[in-house]
C-alpha cells in the first residue's frame, strides 16, 4: 500500500492508456485523437481541462414550460361552479383537456431525454454531463410522480449549474426545487401536520447517510424545519403561514431552524463529507461489493478532508482524485461496471460509431435498467453489479451490434430499405498505418486494448487473432467492425 494513495501520479506514468482511463472515468471516453490531445497537455493540464471546465451553453429554453401549468384562478372558479351545478359536460371538458396536456407533456419528456443524451454524446465538457448524471442518481427524482417535464428540466439545469460546484449550495437549492418538493411531498409539509418524506431522505440518502447517528426524532424535527417550503407553478415559495417557527432540536443542536438551518446542521456533521466522498468514490473509482477496500477508505478519508477544507466545493476533490496514484493503479483500470448510459455514450464517443436513432438507444438503456428522468426510486440506481443479469447482458451486446452496424435487434433485421449509415471503423487504427497494409497482429492488439481499456487476457487475444485469420487476415472496414462486434460481446467490455 502506498504511503499516501492520493499522492500525485508521477508524470512519466501518465501515458496514452492513463489518459484514456481518465477520459472514461471523468467523462465518457474519446477517440484516439482526443486521447492524444489530452496526453500531450500533461497530467495537470489534462485534469484541469476536465475539472475546471467552462460551463456550456444551456439551450433548455427551447422546451415548453407551460404544458403542465396549474389552472388559473378563473379556470378553478369555472370548474368549481360546474361541479356544484352538476354540469358534467364542463367537468368532462376539463378532464379531457388535462389528459391532452399530460399526453403532450410525456412527449416533451421524451424530447428532453433525447436532448440530454445528445448533450452527453456531443459535449466538449464531459465532466459537466457526468456529474449531472451523478446528481440525478443522487437526488433521484422520477417523472411518474412529478408529472411535469419542465420541472425535471429545471432540476437538470440545477445539477448542471452546480456540477462540480459546492454541495452546500446545491443542497439548499434542492430543498427549493419544484420537482423534488413534488416528488417527496415537500409541498404538503405544513405546520401542525408535518410530512417527513423530504427530511427523512435528506438525512438518509442525500446528505448524512443511513445509520450516521440520527434518530426518528431528528427526522421529525427536520420535517418541522422544512414546513412551508413549497412552490407555485415553476417557482419556490416560502409560505410563512405554513411554517413552524418554533424551537427544534436536531442532532443535538437547538434553534428555530428553517430549511436552510436544518441543512446547515447536516452539513456541519463530519459524516456528511465522508458519505458524499464514498459515493463519489463508488461512482468514479471502485463500484465492487467490497468497495472501498482498505486503501480506498484512506482515499475517501483524504477526499473528505479536501471537501471540508474547500467548503464543500467538489472541484478540488475531483482534481486531487484524478491526479492520484490510486486512481491510475492497474487494478483500477477497466474495473467498474458501465452504467447503461455510459455504455451507449462511451461507445459512440470512443469508437466513433454513428449516433443512430436516439429513441432506440434510450429504449435500450431503459431495457438495461436505466431510464433517464425515471430512476426506480428515491434511492436512484444501485449501479455496479446490479446492472448485470442474464437478460441485460444480451441487451448490452445487441445494442453494440446496433451501434456498430445499424442492425436493430429485431427479427426483421434487414428492415426498412434505407441502408444504415456506415461506420468508418478503420479510422480507429489509422495511426497504425505507416507504409503498406497494417500489421494484423498490431491491429488486433490495439483494438483489444483500446476497446477493453486494459491488457486483454491471452485467450481473448488468441480468439480474435484466429478469427481474423479465418476471414482472410486482411485489415479493412468490415473486418475491423466484425472484430469490434466480438470484442464488445466480451463480458469484460462492460467495464470502464
Amino acid at each position: 500500500m502506498a504511503a499516501n494513495p492520493l499522492a500525485r501520479l508521477p508524470d512519466r506514468d501518465f501515458d496514452y492508456w492513463s489518459a484514456a482511463h481518465l477520459l472514461r472515468r471523468a467523462g465518457f471516453g474519446g477517440t484516439p485523437e482526443v486521447i492524444q490531445t489530452l496526453l500531450a497537455s500533461g497530467l495537470d493540464d489534462a485534469v484541469d481541462r476536465l475539472v475546471e471546465f467552462t460551463p456550456t451553453v444551456d439551450d433548455g429554453d427551447r422546451f415548453d414550460r407551460d404544458i403542465m401549468r396549474p389552472r388559473s384562478t378563473e379556470e378553478n372558479r369555472i370548474l368549481a361552479e360546474a361541479r356544484t351545478r352538476g354540469d358534467e359536460a364542463t367537468v368532462e371538458r376539463y378532464r379531457r383537456a388535462r389528459q391532452q396536456r399530460q399526453k403532450r407533456d410525456r412527449a416533451q419528456l421524451r424530447k428532453i431525454r433525447r436532448w440530454w443524451l445528445e448533450r452527453m454524446i456531443k459535449t466538449t465538457e464531459p465532466l459537466e454531463e457526468k456529474m449531472t448524471l451523478f446528481w440525478h442518481g443522487h437526488f433521484a427524482t422520477g417523472y411518474r410522480t412529478v408529472e411535469d417535464s419542465w420541472h425535471l428540466m429545471i432540476q437538470n439545469r440545477l445539477f448542471r449549474t452546480h456540477a462540480v460546484d459546492d454541495f452546500a449550495t446545491l443542497t439548499r437549492s434542492i430543498i427549493r426545487d419544484p420537482a423534488m418538493l413534488q416528488y417527496l411531498d415537500g409541498d404538503q409539509n405544513r405546520k401542525g401536520r408535518p410530512n417527513e418524506n423530504l427530511a427523512r431522505e435528506l438525512m438518509e440518502l442525500f446528505v448524512l447517510g443511513e445509520g450516521n447517528g440520527y434518530t426518528e426524532a431528528d427526522i421529525r424535527e427536520g420535517a418541522r424545519a422544512l414546513t412551508g417550503f413549497t412552490y407555485v407553478d415553476d417557482d419556490f415559495t416560502f409560505r410563512k403561514d405554513r411554517h413552524d417557527a418554533g424551537q427544534k432540536l436536531i442532532l443535538g443542536r437547538r434553534g428555530s431552524f428553517d430549511g436552510d438551518g436544518f441543512v446547515n446542521v447536516l452539513l456541519a456533521q463530519p459524516e456528511t463529507s465522508r458519505f458524499l466522498c464514498e459515493k463519489l468514490y463508488r461512482f468514479f473509482v471502485d463500484d465492487g461489493p467490497k468497495s472501498p477496500d482498505a486503501e480506498g477508505r484512506q482515499v475517501v478519508e483524504g477526499m473528505a478532508k479536501t471537501l471540508r477544507r474547500s467548503k464543500y466545493r467538489l472541484g478540488p476533490v475531483l482534481g486531487q482524485l484524478f491526479r492520484s496514484r490510486h486512481f491510475y493503479a492497474p487494478e483500477r483500470r477497466a474495473s467498474i461496471v458501465k452504467s447503461p448510459i455510459q455504455l451507449v455514450v462511451q461507445s459512440i464517443r470512443e469508437l466513433g460509431t454513428p449516433i443512430r436513432d436516439e429513441n432506440v438507444l434510450l429504449e435500450a438503456t431503459d431495457l438495461m435498467g436505466q431510464n433517464l428522468l425515471q430512476p426506480p426510486s428515491v434511492k436512484g440506481w444501485d449501479g455496479g453489479r446490479s446492472w448485470i443479469n442474464t437478460a441485460t447482458l444480451f441487451v448490452r451486446q445487441n445494442t453494440l451490434v446496433y451501434q456498430l452496424t445499424g442492425r436493430l435487434p429485431g427479427l426483421d433485421a434487414a428492415q426498412k430499405g434505407a441502408a444504415a449509415e456506415p461506420f468508418a471503423s478503420e479510422r480507429l487504427v489509422d495511426h497504425l498505418v505507416t507504409n503498406g497494409p497494417p500489421d494484423p497482429d498490431l491491429v488486433v492488439d490495439y483494438l483489444l486494448r483500446f476497446t477493453l481499456g486494459t491488457t486483454p487476457h491471452p485467450d481473448r487475444r488468441e480468439t480474435v487473432r484466429a478469427f481474423l485469420r479465418d476471414v482472410g487476415d486482411r485489415i479493412d472496414r468490415d473486418r475491423i467492425t466484425a472484430m469490434l462486434a466480438l470484442i464488445t460481446a466480451m463480458p469484460e467490455y462492460q467495464l470502464a
Binding site: S377, T390, A391, Q397, T463, F467, V471, A489
Partner: protein, 430 residues
C-alpha cells in the same frame, strides 16, 4: 404432476450442481452457489410434504385498465343498465343493443362478457375463480402509478416488486437466472427483487446475440468468448469475474429457453399475442424449466372511446387463449402445478362516457385459473349505488389476494414478503 421423469426438475438440477462443484471455474455462478449452501429447507425447493416441487404461477397483465363491469357483468342491477345505456349488456335472452351476457349464476344475476366463452367453459369445469371488487384505498388513476402500486404491493408504488421480494426471501442470496421469466421487451417491476432479476425476452429467437448474423465465422469465436466463465488469473471477486460468470449463465438460459420453445405445441391455440405468449410458457413448463413465475401481458384495454368492438376482441382473445393454455397443461399432465392470475391496474368508471367508451376507474375483478382454485365467484360485487365519486368501492385489497397466493400456493409467510399485514384471502381449495 407429469408422470414422466423430467429432465430438469429443480431437485435434479441442484443435485447436478452439487456433483459439479469441484469444477468451480466452468460451472455457472448460480449452480456454484446453490451447491455450496443448499439443504432442501433453505433452497427454493419446497420441503413441505405434499407440495409439488414445481409449483408455477402464471401472471397475465391486462394493460390499460380493463373494464371490469363489462367483463363480469352485473346485469341484475338497474344502475348498470342506466349508466351504460349503449355499451352495457343485458341478462341472458335480453335484447339490449350491446347484446346479452353469458350467464354465470342465475341467483346472483352475474354474467360474463359474451365473448368470454373460454372463461365460461372454464367456469363450468370448476377451474375459474372470480375475485370481485379488488382494489386498494385512495385509488390512483394514472396507468403508470397504479401499475407500480400493483407491482410493488406498496401504496407509494416505490421499491422492489412483490414477486421479486418473494424470490429474494427464498433464494438464499444467490440469483437464480430463470426463476422468473417474462415474455415481453421490458421486465415487469413485479418480478424485480434486490437480488433476483427476471429473464425477459420478446421472442425466444431474439434471446441471443445478433452479431452472429453478420458472418458465419463469428459464431464460433463468440461462443468461446461468452462461455469461458471466469478466466484463469482473474480475481474471482472482481467485477470482471462476475461478468464472465453471468455471461455463461446467460448462454445457458438462452440455450435452455430456446430449446424449450422449439418444441412448443401449435395445435389448439387461437391466433394473437396472448396465445403466442401462453404457448411459449406452456412449452417451458413442459420442459421442466426451474421457473416459478411466468409473466404475460395483453395491452389495449384503455378503452376511452367506442369500446364495444375492441373490448370484445380482447375478451375473446383472453378467454380463448387461457382456455387453450389450460387444455395444453392438462394434456401434458401439468395442470395441477400451475396457477394463473389475471389482473389489470384498475377498472373503469361505472358510467360510460360520451364517446361510447369508459374512463379510468377503480376496483375490478381478478381471475384465478387452475385445478386448485376455489371455483366460482368470491366476494360481493361492489355496490353500484354506493359509489365514490362515480367509482366503485373496492371490497378486497389486492394485497390480500397476493397474501393468499403466497401463503397457500407458494407456502411462504406473506407478511415478510409483502411487508404489510393484509390478511391472506382464502383463494385455493383445501
Amino acid at each position: 404432476m407429469s408422470p414422466e421423469p423430467r429432465a430438469y426438475t429443480r431437485r435434479v438440477f441442484l443435485q447436478r450442481g452439487a456433483t459439479l462443484a469441484s469444477t468451480a471455474a466452468t460451472i455457472p455462478w448460480f449452480v456454484q452457489n446453490a451447491a455450496a449452501g443448499v439443504t432442501p429447507t433453505t433452497s427454493m425447493v419446497s420441503s413441505v410434504p405434499g407440495i409439488p416441487d414445481d409449483r408455477v404461477m402464471v401472471i397475465i397483465q391486462l394493460g390499460g385498465g380493463n373494464d371490469g363491469l363489462n367483463t363480469v357483468v352485473p346485469y341484475y342491477a338497474d344502475e348498470y343498465a342506466r349508466l351504460r345505456p349503449r355499451i352495457g349488456f343485458g341478462g341472458p335472452g335480453s335484447n339490449r343493443p350491446a347484446g346479452a351476457a353469458l350467464e354465470l349464476d342465475e341467483a346472483t344475476g352475474l354474467g360474463l362478457h359474451p365473448r368470454l366463452t373460454g372463461f365460461k367453459s372454464l367456469f363450468d369445469d370448476g377451474k375459474l375463480e372470480i375475485v370481485q371488487g379488488v382494489g386498494y384505498p385512495n385509488p390512483n388513476r394514472s396507468h403508470f402509478a397504479s401499475m407500480d402500486i400493483w407491482h410493488t404491493g406498496r401504496s407509494d408504488g416505490q421499491g422492489t416488486g412483490w414477486l421479486g421480494r418473494y424470490f429474494d426471501n427464498t433464494c438464499n442470496g444467490s440469483p437464480i437466472p430463470e426463476a422468473a421469466i417474462s415474455i415481453g421487451r421490458r421486465a415487469p417491476l413485479a418480478l424485480m427483487g434486490d437480488v433476483q432479476k427476471p429473464v425477459s425476452f420478446e421472442d425466444a429467437r431474439l434471446f441471443r446475440w445478433k452479431g452472429e448474423d453478420l458472418h458465419d465465422a463469428m459464431k464460433a469465436p463468440y461462443e468461446k468468448v461468452v462461455r469461458a466463465g471466469a478466466l484463469d488469473g482473474i480475481d474471482p471477486d472482481s467485477q470482471a469475474a462476475y461478468l464472465m460468470r453471468t455471461s455463461l449463465d446467460a448462454q445457458i438460459s438462452s440455450d435452455r429457453i430456446r430449446a424449450a420453445v422449439r418444441r412448443s405445441a401449435n395445435a389448439g391455440y387461437p391466433r394473437g399475442p396472448l396465445a403466442d405468449q401462453l404457448r411459449l410458457i406452456a412449452a417451458m413448463i413442459r420442459d421442466g424449466m426451474p421457473t416459478r413465475v411466468y409473466y404475460a401481458t395483453l395491452g389495449g384495454f384503455d378503452t376511452h372511446g367506442s369500446q364495444s368492438g375492441s373490448h370484445a376482441n380482447l375478451m375473446g382473445q383472453l378467454g380463448d387463449s387461457v382456455k387453450a393454455f389450460q387444455a395444453d397443461l392438462d394434456a401434458q399432465g401439468a395442470a395441477d402445478q400451475v396457477l394463473t392470475m389475471v389482473f389489470s391496474e384498475f377498472g373503469r368508471r361505472v358510467a360510460e362516457n360520451g364517446s361510447g367508451g369508459t374512463d379510468h376507474g377503480t376496483a375490478a375483478p381478478v381471475f384465478l385459473i387452475g385445478d386448485q382454485v376455489r371455483p366460482g365467484v368470491i366476494g360481493n360485487h361492489p355496490s353500484l349505488t354506493d359509489l365514490d365519486g362515480g367509482d366503485l368501492r373496492f371490497g378486497i385489497d389486492f394485497r390480500s389476494v397476493y397474501a393468499g397466493l403466497l401463503t397457500d400456493w407458494f407456502k411462504v409467510d406473506s407478511a415478510s414478503v409483502l411487508g404489510t399485514d393484509h390478511p391472506p384471502a382464502h383463494l385455493l381449495r383445501s
